[in-house]
């Protein structure tokens, strides 16, 4: 896609000016259950969030699902019962351990949803930094995560980027298929809500969250990343990311390690 923008820009054709809001003919699907569950290796309140979808042209106020029975067990025999802290948000203070497989069980509205995720080994986020690239004469600063990929295992990474505490819309997901065992610098291009993509400025505060995830969760984020920013007709045909939760629930249940580093852009 970037190449195409380059071509059309070079051909002197319109690109940015050729955008407009249109009406599309679609329909509003019935509400579906959405479960987003995370177990991290931090001793914190782990969160399982249960909500519902709304129709395409409805307001983005997502109904939270209360009254669910949420339990997580691990393959060592521990069992954690989650309590509802606020509507739809179920929590339990615990720490996940790498190598353990966690099973989620959610009972709500007469249905049961289950999922499993194995927490991978933690790959240390060595540092974060700022990389300066030149793109068509413009110096652009981007955030980067530095780590050393372990050579003897298959690793999957997911990152979240915050700039001045604002969450970047882009999905950052990597595997080591082509980079196994190397020192990695993973560039995280910021994408804000308002499409102002000038890169980072001096004084910006950046924070990077790094997660070592399992292969199902990689597929989940990878499918989302393939679709984002390209839309129908050009990218991969959009589809719901493959959920590891049973009974057609949307979302995912991920046991992953968690690290966070912050810095100021010089």
């Amino acid at each position: 896609m970037k190449k195409l923008i380059l071509y059309t820009a070079a051909l002197g054709l319109c690109f940015s000016s050729c955008k407009k809001i249109i009406e599309v003919d679609t329909y509003n699907a019935e509400a579906q259950i959405v479960i987003e569950g995370k177990i991290t290796d931090q001793l914190i309140d782990q969160e399982i969030v249960i909500s519902k979808t709304v129709g395409y042209d409805e307001k983005g106020i997502y109904p939270k699902l209360s009254g669910a029975i949420v339990t997580v067990t691990d393959d060592r025999g521990s069992r954690y019962t989650f309590r509802e802290r606020t509507p739809g948000v179920y929590v339990q203070a615990m720490r996940g351990i790498s190598g353990n497989t966690y099973s989620l069980n959610v009972s709500v509205e007469g249905k049961t949803y289950t999922a499993r995720s194995k927490m991978p080994n933690r790959v240390k986020l060595d540092s974060i930094g700022v990389v300066t690239n030149s793109f068509f004469g413009n110096e652009r600063k981007t955030a980067a995560a530095y780590l050393v990929d372990p050579v003897n295992e298959t690793n999957f990474y997911h990152f979240n980027l915050y700039v001045n505490n604002l969450f970047s819309r882009r999905v950052y997901v990597n595997n080591d298929r082509l980079t196994n065992g190397n020192k990695l610098r993973i560039q995280l291009f910021y994408e804000s809500d308002d499409d102002n993509d000038d890169g980072l400025k001096s004084g910006d505060k950046i924070s990077v969250e790094a997660e070592s995830i399992d292969s199902n969760i990689f597929d989940y984020w990878y499918t989302l990343s393939q679709q984002s920013g390209r839309g129908p007709n050009q990218g991969t045909t959009p589809a719901n990311p493959p959920s590891n939760i049973s009974n057609n629930a949307l979302g995912y249940f991920s046991a992953h390690t968690y690290q966070k580093l912050s810095m100021n852009v010089k």
Partner: protein
């Protein structure tokens, strides 16, 4: 029915016509253009006398007709040329080599309507579109670069791959299901600059035929169409030069005799110069960028003696793009064809071809830590032997074909500092071979048959490690195969059959059935094609794709052939179609076949075509009503869903108006239903971000496309040998913003709401080109 049965029936049909043998002689020869000596493909030869018959010249301008002894009148005609009428007395085998004069060298009236033959009505061939290279010059196109692939998209049954794009879909087939051949060599990637231009430089092209259905048995290897492109042979009488200077590219062509009337050559070159503008920029990162492509077409032929002619032709093309210190990408095709025409006797014509072709690309990332170079190659060696036997009422074709494929999916080399690892993905080898036989039989004055069989074999060869996968895509086992061993073999019998029944000279109905199979497939899960698309061969996992098509049509000419109408309906079944799992990773993946899904497809439609062929105002109207769908157990709950290129309505108008000897105006107007795409039916939130919920695959529609293009050509004043012309064009004259992609974003006025934002590529684009020849 077994092969034996087919052959038996075939032999019976052939022998039935020889039962009534009497003194018969053969009239044969080659038909050429008087000014250049170029052979004319598809010229009609009509012979009337004691009996009457007709035929067409073949791809080398050769024809043969066998008739009982007697006196005959022979009429030779070709569109745009004055007909030649000869009286002959056929008392022995006779040679008739004729040269036709172009009609525009003569008074217009001599091209009388009587000379125009009803070939489109009579011939049993269906689904064939021949592109007139003369009208191609006046059809308006993007940036004035006349283009065969864009012109065929204005015909019914052929859909554009996207705005300004040379990719095309024929009767519901995918983009990789078109057999695109240039002097018999396969051109794997026929696009430049991501598809805005095609690899076919119109200056170097003599003839273009597109088969949408009813493919004759000599063609095989792709499911949905054959685009047979033939290069100019070169002028064998005189040295000629022609060229053009346009906004983005310049062209130059030289041709002339090697030995007068015996051999000639043609060399044609085209290059873009967008990057020269980039280089003029004061900005160092822009002037260090590259963006260009070039094409070289070259051909030579030599008539060794009356029985043997040798042809050598080649094509070399390359695209280069790059941004300084960021990336470089280049790709291109190479084709080379060596052919020997041999005339065994007046009735038996043969052609032997040795063909080499490859497609390759290189991508380099120059970033300090993600520094690597990735290369990929598809290479074919191809041997073809084709025979044509001309009998009284039959034209027999038979032959064989063997192609050796080598695919190097990807080779990654890296620098020491690079965080990417070197990778060499295993090469794949395949052997595709076929034998075919077909017969074109004038059963009666009213009934013509064209029927044949093609037996297509494919073998996946070692060396290699071949994985087998379970339905979920997990590897079950891997076979290690030695070099030269046949690992997997497929044999497919492809019947081809068409007939025409003439009610009278101007009215006919036709019907056809054909089966096609395909053993080389493009993998791409993006909806637009890219130079880095990957090719795979049929294997233990990937079965040969199969398509069966039936079509019936009504063909009608009016007003002494001035107007031509046709209506065809078709239905096509497709097996072993390929799609992808969610989260499929296709590049550099040695288990790429684990990412594939297999399903079926169906396509059906109605095509209407009305053409005014001659006169001051000419042109055509085409309309297609169609549907194309796919079905995969793993997608869309196992229900049929529309393929992306499913567009219900497609309309095209092309009008060319010759105001006077100097001015020609032309316009084209297209309208089509938007592509089938997947729109969200709901939304939810994950990690604080809006994620869309999808239900039915490709159940939504992009907005419709509509575009008006205009062009005007001004011929320069006659200055003897030197001729020049100006071509002015306006692409998208209405300035309509046609949809390129649609993205869903939060409404800028109310972020809790979702809106669809459409991106368009092209506004109004004027162009000017200066052409010359001397």
């Amino acid at each position: 029915m077994s092969i034996k049965h087919y052959l038996l029936i075939f032999l019976l049909l052939i022998s039935s016509s020889t039962l009534f043998a009497q003194n018969k002689f053969t009239l044969s020869g080659t038909i050429r253009d008087a000014s250049s000596g170029e052979t004319l493909i598809g010229a009609t030869i009509k012979i009337t006398g004691a009996t009457s018959a007709g035929t067409l010249t073949n791809n080398y301008g050769y024809f043969a007709l066998t008739q009982p002894e007697g006196n005959y009148t022979v009429t030779i005609s070709y569109t745009g040329f004055a007909s030649v009428v000869k009286n002959i007395s056929l008392i022995k085998d006779t040679k008739l080599n004729e040269e036709l004069k172009a009609a525009n060298d003569l008074a217009e009236v001599t091209v009388s309507a009587n000379n125009r033959k009803n070939e489109n009505v009579k011939s049993a061939q269906m689904g064939l579109e021949r592109i007139d290279m003369k009208s191609l010059n006046s059809i308006p196109v993007l940036l004035g670069e006349k283009d065969v692939l864009k012109t065929i998209q204005l015909l019914p049954g052929v859909k554009s791959g996207g705005e300004g794009n040379t990719g095309f879909y024929v009767r519901g087939g995918a983009a990789d299901q078109n057999l695109i051949i240039l002097d018999e060599a396969v051109v794997y990637n026929s696009s430049h600059l991501l598809g805005f231009f095609s690899t076919f430089n119109a200056d170097a092209i003599k003839d273009v035929s597109l088969y949408k259905g009813g493919m004759p048995a000599q063609y095989g290897g792709r499911l949905s169409s054959v685009l047979d492109v033939k290069m100019d042979d070169g002028n064998n009488k005189d040295f000629k030069f022609q060229g053009g200077i346009g906004l983005i590219a310049s062209r130059l062509k030289a041709e002339g005799p090697i030995v007068k009337d015996k051999g000639s050559f043609m060399v044609s070159f085209r290059r873009t110069y967008i990057d020269l503008f980039l280089r003029a920029s004061p900005d160092s990162s822009i002037n260090g960028s590259t963006l260009n492509f070039y094409d070289i077409n070259a051909k030579a032929n030599y008539k060794i003696n009356d029985k043997n002619t040798i042809y050598i032709s080649g094509y070399f093309g390359k695209d280069n793009i790059g941004v300084k210190d960021l990336f470089e990408n280049n790709w291109g095709n190479v084709t080379t064809t060596v052919r020997l025409n041999h005339i065994f006797n007046d009735r038996l014509f043969s052609n032997t071809s040795l063909i080499y072709n490859n497609y390759n690309y290189t991508v380099r990332l120059l970033n300090d830590v993600t520094n690597f170079k990735a290369t990929s190659l598809v290479r074919d060696f191809n041997f073809k032997e084709d025979f044509q036997y001309f009998s009284n009422k039959h034209t027999l074709r038979f032959g064989l074909n063997a192609t050796h494929h080598r695919i190097s999916p990807i080779d990654i080399t890296t620098t020491q500092e690079s965080q990417v690892n070197p990778l060499t993905q295993e090469k794949r080898y395949g052997l595709e071979s076929a034998i075919y036989v077909s017969d074109e039989w004038a059963v009666t004055e009213k009934l013509n048959l064209l029927y044949g069989l093609r037996l297509a074999a494919f073998s996946l060869l070692g060396p290699g490690n071949f994985g087998t996968y379970d339905p979920a895509g997990n590897i079950l086992s891997s076979d290690k195969v030695e070099s030269g061993k046949f690992y997997k073999n497929y044999l497919n019998l492809e019947p081809r059959f068409s007939l025409s029944y003439l009610f009278n000279e101007e009215n006919s109905v036709k019907a056809s059935y054909n089966r096609n199979t395909q053993n080389i497939h493009i993998l791409t899960n993006a909806t637009s094609s890219s130079p880095t698309d990957q090719y795979v061969l049929s294997s233990n996992n990937i079965k040969p794709e199969i398509a069966d098509q039936v079509a019936v049509g009504y063909f009608r000419n009016f007003e002494e052939n001035n107007y031509e109408f046709s209506g065809e309906v078709y239905y096509k079944w497709m097996q072993n179609q390929i799609d992808y799992r969610d989260a499929a990773e296709l590049l550099g993946n040695s288990n790429v076949e684990s990412e594939l899904l297999y399903g079926t497809g169906r396509a059906y439609g109605l095509e209407l075509f009305f053409k005014k062929k001659f006169g001051k105002l000419n042109g055509w109207v085409g309309y297609t009503l169609s549907r194309t769908e796919r079905k995969f157990a793993e997608l869309n709950n196992g229900n049929y869903f529309p393929a992306r290129q499913d567009r219900t309505h497609d309309v095209s108008f092309v009008g060319i108006y010759n105001l006077n000897k100097r001015w020609t105006f032309s316009s084209s107007l297209i309208y089509s239903t938007g592509n089938a795409v997947t729109y969200p039916a709901g939304k939810y939130v994950i990690g604080g971000q809006t994620v869309y919920y999808y239900t039915q695959r490709n159940a939504g529609r992009m907005p419709y496309n509509m575009r008006l293009d205009l062009s005007a050509t001004l011929e320069g004043r006659n200055r003897g040998r030197f001729q020049s012309s100006w071509n002015f064009g306006v692409y998208n004259a209405l300035g309509r913003k046609n949809p390129y992609s649609v993205e869903f974003i939060n409404d800028p006025n109310d972020p809790s709401r979702t809106v669809a934002e459409q991106t368009s590529l092209f506004g109004i684009i004027p162009s000017v080109t200066w052409n010359f020849k001397f």
